[in-house]
């Protein structure tokens, strides 16, 4: 019988509900992919190249095959045509596209490239077998440095291309040369946005299993993109799409690293089909460091043309972007995701953007939290500080003079985007108040005057970004081969429980809670009666998955529309039951009642049961109660904010300490402020980590020097201060819920805030830039070089 629980708790949107999913996620007692243990599972292990670039002369697998428990050893000869990954974003007409083999056939192109695959009945045996495979390599020259790679006669990553240049993308907006001619000062800087290695808590893992007598193969993967992955697996393997079910069970973080199709997924699927048994692979952290895609890695040559009075006229951006050895899902497009954001929050008359993609013999790069926007934000927020310094202006005053004022929205900026809403003044005023800006400036002055070995700097980042990927037509115009819509189905079950099927694929974001809150407000059912179904192409067949701060901005719209459609159908049934005209039916908090006669009422749960029995529905109405929507967003959304960092720099040792961090974000309407807070904290930690700790380093032979966490440093809570956070709320006008997105803002905003603070501390010593990460050695060298009279 229908269980009727009434909502008594008021509006769910805006409430800091504890996350439904946390108990199982925090205890790990859940179905992480590696926890899936199917009978008869075979274990896969991958032999990876120790050389960055070499010809494979011979592979002897006999000793490995002789090891007890080893069933098969495969090399590239077994799958000569099979691709292990693919690129869906050929950004220019003349882009040079690579073929990424599932297993290398005759050449390896980065240290970590796969040369053989072992299948054994035990994971440990598979690992032992790798040591027994003997590969003869003929060394080829590594291609490590992007500028060297572009020189004539440089060794080639892909010999058949005749060049290491992957593409050149240009976007001239306005006439930069003309505005430059009018400028009093042209500030030029070269920024290095270093290579990063995304490190979600859960490494990648995949299980592929033939499902009994049907032709279906189910592939569980620790992925952000089960729906996209299913399409691509079908295209690469030739296995019909309708025979593949992809499940992303609980996934422990992604940050873009799991927005990918990887060769281990392709191989597990193909081998499970060939061998007729489940095949499982879980990467080790050491493997992760070389085999999971990397992020960032750009050389940014930036010019800002300004007048003496501090007006920005135009900007020139010339990027070299490291693709690594092969193009993966959106490798070439990642730097271009920032293309529209280089002008940031500032008005200007011209923006001249060029990006050259370069092949090197390194791990492929791809999206990492922010994907293109952190790089753009870093460039603009660093260069405005440098321009202010060259003009002798206070950096916040310089920003105020150039930013779009709140009266000017909607504002079409130089790259053609229309920012719907924003209030940079309000966010900045709040940040300054929380920070104690004037007091810290006074302390900075005192430290400078006393010659304190520990100097203080104030770092500013007044940023905006674009979320809500994406209007499908825009993606089409950018040559991306998929759309940017999102889907939701809300089903009212006979017992009154709700099943909300979303096409988003959470991997830590708390969708189960936040989506329930949205649906609860719309259909009037308590949050705890709503089950969110996600990440399974069998149960949630339509979706474009989770990345680019799109889930709420796009997926949220689909939830709203699906819920409204369900409520409207139920209204017709309720009217029929209550013998009233549908126009006279009011719907409040899950109850339908007749206007002026509140005694005559029914609940949405009761209606759901009626829709199930179908004994007494309006004539012609189809049974069952659900609402469905697939939404293509009208536009991007534009969160913004003002972040301030107080940096202490020990000039004797170069050690940098983050003393205080204030983040005032404007992500529009907040569904769950606690989840927003969590996203801000995590984003800050990652952006600060780029500025202070992280950086992938290669030697001249293309060997990764930072292949362990002893060398590749990640901060822990012990390394970060308590963040001071707040929000201003300027609702989006292009998104029906007024939301904008918050998943990447912290990572986008904080990196320049930190470096601006370090440089601000050291500017009296002549320092105008510090290489990231601002490690003690990099900072100390910057001071030494400045004092020796050179640029850093």
């Amino acid at each position: 019988m229908t269980e009727t629980v009434m909502r008594t708790d008021g509006a769910a949107i805006g409430r800091a509900d504890r996350r439904k999913e946390d108990a199982r996620l925090l205890t790990g007692r859940t179905n992480w992919t590696d926890n899936i243990q199917l009978p008869g599972t075979l274990h896969m292990a991958t032999l990876r190249s120790s050389m960055a670039h070499a010809k494979i002369l011979r592979i002897d697998t006999s000793a490995a095959l002789a090891l007890e428990g080893v069933l098969h050893v495969y090399t590239g000869r077994d799958f000569p045509e099979l691709a292990g990954s693919t690129c869906v974003w050929p950004v220019t007409d003349d882009i040079r596209m690579s073929h990424y083999p599932a297993i290398c056939t005759d050449e390896v192109k980065y240290a970590g490239d796969v040369v053989a695959v072992v299948i054994a009945n035990d994971r440990s045996v598979a690992a032992d077998a790798l040591d027994l495979i003997d590969v003869d390599y003929e060394h080829l020259p590594a291609v490590v440095d992007m500028e060297e790679a572009l020189k004539p006669g440089a060794p080639l990553v892909h010999a058949d291309m005749g060049t290491n240049e992957c593409y050149v993308a240009r976007m001239p907006c306005g006439d930069y040369e003309a505005v430059k001619a009018r400028a009093d000062v042209v500030v030029k800087r070269r920024f290095i946005n270093q290579r990063l290695i995304p490190n979600p808590m859960e490494p990648r893992s995949v299980v592929a299993a033939p499902m009994g007598m049907s032709d279906e193969i189910t592939l569980w993967s620790a992925t952000q993109i089960p729906h996209v992955l299913r399409v691509l697996l079908a295209l690469l393997t030739g296995i019909p799409e309708n025979n593949i079910r992809v499940v992303a069970p609980d996934v422990g973080g992604g940050f873009g690293a799991k927005l990918q199709i990887y060769r281990e997924e392709v191989l597990a699927l193909v081998l499970a089909k060939r061998l007729g048994k489940p095949v499982k692979w879980t990467e080790t952290r050491s493997e992760h460091m070389v085999a999971t895609h990397h992020g960032r890695d750009q050389i940014q040559d930036i010019e800002l043309a300004v007048t003496k009075d501090g007006t920005i006229l135009g900007m020139k951006v010339d990027l070299l972007a490291d693709m690594g050895a092969y193009l993966q899902i959106i490798t070439p497009g990642t730097p271009l995701l920032g293309m529209f954001m280089y002008s940031g929050i500032y008005k200007m008359e011209a923006l001249d953007f060029t990006c050259t993609g370069v092949y090197t013999t390194k791990t492929p790069t791809d999206a990492y939290r922010g994907a293109g926007r952190p790089e753009a934000t870093y460039a603009i927020e660093r260069i405005v500080d440098e321009a202010a310094a060259e003009l002798g202006m206070e950096p916040m005053e310089f920003r105020r003079k150039n930013w779009i004022t709140h009266e000017e929205f909607p504002y079409t900026q130089i790259a053609g985007l229309t920012y719907d809403t924003g209030n940079y003044e309000a966010a900045t005023a709040r940040a300054i108040e929380l920070f104690g800006y004037d007091e810290l400036r006074a302390e900075q002055k005192a430290r400078r005057e006393s010659g304190d070995p520990v100097q203080l700097g104030i770092g500013i980042s007044t940023f905006t970004e674009m979320c809500g990927l994406a209007p499908s037509r825009t993606l089409g115009a950018l040559k991306y081969v998929a759309g940017g819509w999102e889907h939701c189905t809300i089903r009212a079950l006979p017992t009154g429980k709700i099943e909300l099927v979303t096409g988003t694929s959470p991997h830590g974001q708390g969708h189960e809670t936040a989506w329930s809150q949205i649906a609860s407000d719309i259909i009037g059912v308590p949050v705890e009666d709503i089950e969110v179904v996600h990440g399974d192409t069998g149960r949630a067949p339509y979706g474009m998955d989770t990345y680019g701060s799109r889930s709420l901005a796009v997926g949220g719209q689909a939830i709203k529309l699906a819920g409204e459609r369900l409520v409207e159908k139920a209204r017709l049934i309720a009217a029929h039951q209550l013998e009233a005209n549908p126009d006279d039916i009011e719907f409040t908090a899950g109850t339908y009642s007749v206007k002026g006669d509140p005694e005559k009422s029914t609940t949405i749960q009761a209606v759901a049961f009626e829709a199930f029995t179908a004994h007494n529905l309006p004539d012609g109405m189809e049974p069952t109660l659900s609402g469905e929507s697939t939404v293509d967003p009208l536009d991007f959304s534009y969160p913004h904010g003002t972040h301030l960092a107080a940096m202490e720099v020990d000039t004797e040792t170069g050690k940098v300490t983050l003393r205080k961090y204030v983040a005032v974000d404007d992500c529009g309407v907040q569904i769950n402020p606690m989840i927003v807070e969590g996203q801000v904290h995590g984003g800050l930690a990652q952006g600060i980590a780029q500025a202070m700790y992280e950086g992938a380093l290669y030697d001249n032979d293309g060997n990764l020097l930072t292949g362990s966490m002893g060398d590749y440093l990640l901060p822990s809570a012990a390394d970060l201060p308590s963040f001071v956070t707040d929000r201003t709320v300027t609702p989006s006008t292009t998104h029906p819920l007024g939301t904008k997105g918050i998943g990447e803002a912290g990572a986008i905003a904080s990196t320049p805030a930190i470096i601006n603070g370090v440089v601000d501390a050291l500017r009296p010593l002549g320092v105008t830039d510090v290489f990231m990460p601002a490690s003690p050695q990099n900072v100390w060298r910057a001071i030494q070089n400045a004092q020796a009279g050179g640029a850093r």
């Binding site: 440990s124 040591d131 493997e287 362990s708 002893g710 440093l713 390394d719 490690s775 003690p776 100390w780």
Partner: protein, 284 residues
């Protein structure tokens, strides 16, 4: 990663441990808290055929007051060292340094003796042992012997402990009348030392009567900064004198270059950190 397979022996006495090591030949390793050894195994940098677990050998789990010295068992965890009443009262330098080792999870598992025998040049505990002229009690098939700290650390990841021997305990002199400080320089809270400096000084009437300084990660083993010690001894306990003495801290060192610091920067750090460590040890 996944280690190669190995046999596991749990010893309940020192004699049992020595017997197991002797039986296994050169191919055995002593397992304490596993915080250094297990990563080595998982990365397949070493593949011993036998692990002899000494983490629950009673004798190695004790801290004993010997009058003028403390005998700290090799299997006492870093966390226990940090909080042990005898250690905090008599060898505060050891307790202070223990608190800087890695993170809480590792300090609860990792052992003082394990840190010394692993002999990572960036380890903190060996430097404290070296600055205090600790004595290492080592048991082998022929009985027990005592090795001074100057002879204990032989090279990168190499000590005087033989393949059939086990470190039982470390004898540390009580430090009444001394001031001490360990200055650790690292990038994240749980990271290894890029450079570390252990300093202990005895100040009498404004003069430094005795000074001991040892450096972490400035060579293959923890090394004493003999020229700094000489320059400090008999001099005034002033910031200026200490700064002048610290200028020779990098003399005779041979630091490596790695992803965190090159040798030149390490030499610079050794001077700055020696100044700071000695200044704090002198109570200035």
């Amino acid at each position: 990663m996944i280690p190669s397979s190995f046999d596991y022996v749990k010893a309940s006495t020192v004699d049992e441990a020595v017997a197991a090591l002797t039986a296994a030949g050169e191919d055995a390793k002593v397992l304490g808290g596993g915080q250094s050894l297990l990563p080595v195994l998982r990365l397949r940098l070493n593949s011993p055929s036998v692990l002899v677990d000494v983490s629950e050998v009673d004798e190695m789990r004790q801290v004993t007051d010997e009058g003028s010295a403390l005998l700290v068992g090799a299997a006492v965890t870093t966390y226990e060292v940090m909080h042990h009443d005898l250690v905090t009262a008599h060898v505060p330098l050891l307790a202070q340094t223990a608190a800087l080792v890695a993170d809480p999870a590792i300090r609860h598992r990792g052992t003082f003796g394990g840190s010394c025998t692993h002999a990572d040049p960036s380890g903190d505990m060996p430097t404290v042992a070296r600055v205090l002229d600790a004595e290492f009690v080592v048991a082998g098939p022929g009985g027990r012997r005592t090795v001074p700290a100057a002879d204990f650390f032989v090279d990168f990841f190499t000590t005087a402990v033989g393949p059939d021997e086990v470190l039982v305990a470390v004898r540390l002199p009580k430090m009444g009348g001394w001031g001490s400080h360990y200055e650790k320089f690292h990038r994240t809270a749980q990271a290894w030392a890029i450079v570390g400096v252990a300093a202990a000084v005895r100040v009498e009437g404004g003069t430094i009567a005795e000074a001991r300084v040892a450096l972490t990660n400035m060579g293959a083993t923890p090394i004493r900064a003999a020229s700094v010690e000489a320059a400090l001894t008999g001099g005034p306990a002033t910031a200026e004198a200490i700064a002048a003495a610290a200028e020779s801290a990098a003399d005779g060192t041979s630091p490596t270059s790695d992803t965190h610091a090159d040798a030149e920067f390490r030499r610079h750090l050794a001077r700055v950190l020696t100044k700071r460590a000695v200044t704090k040890a002198a109570g200035l």
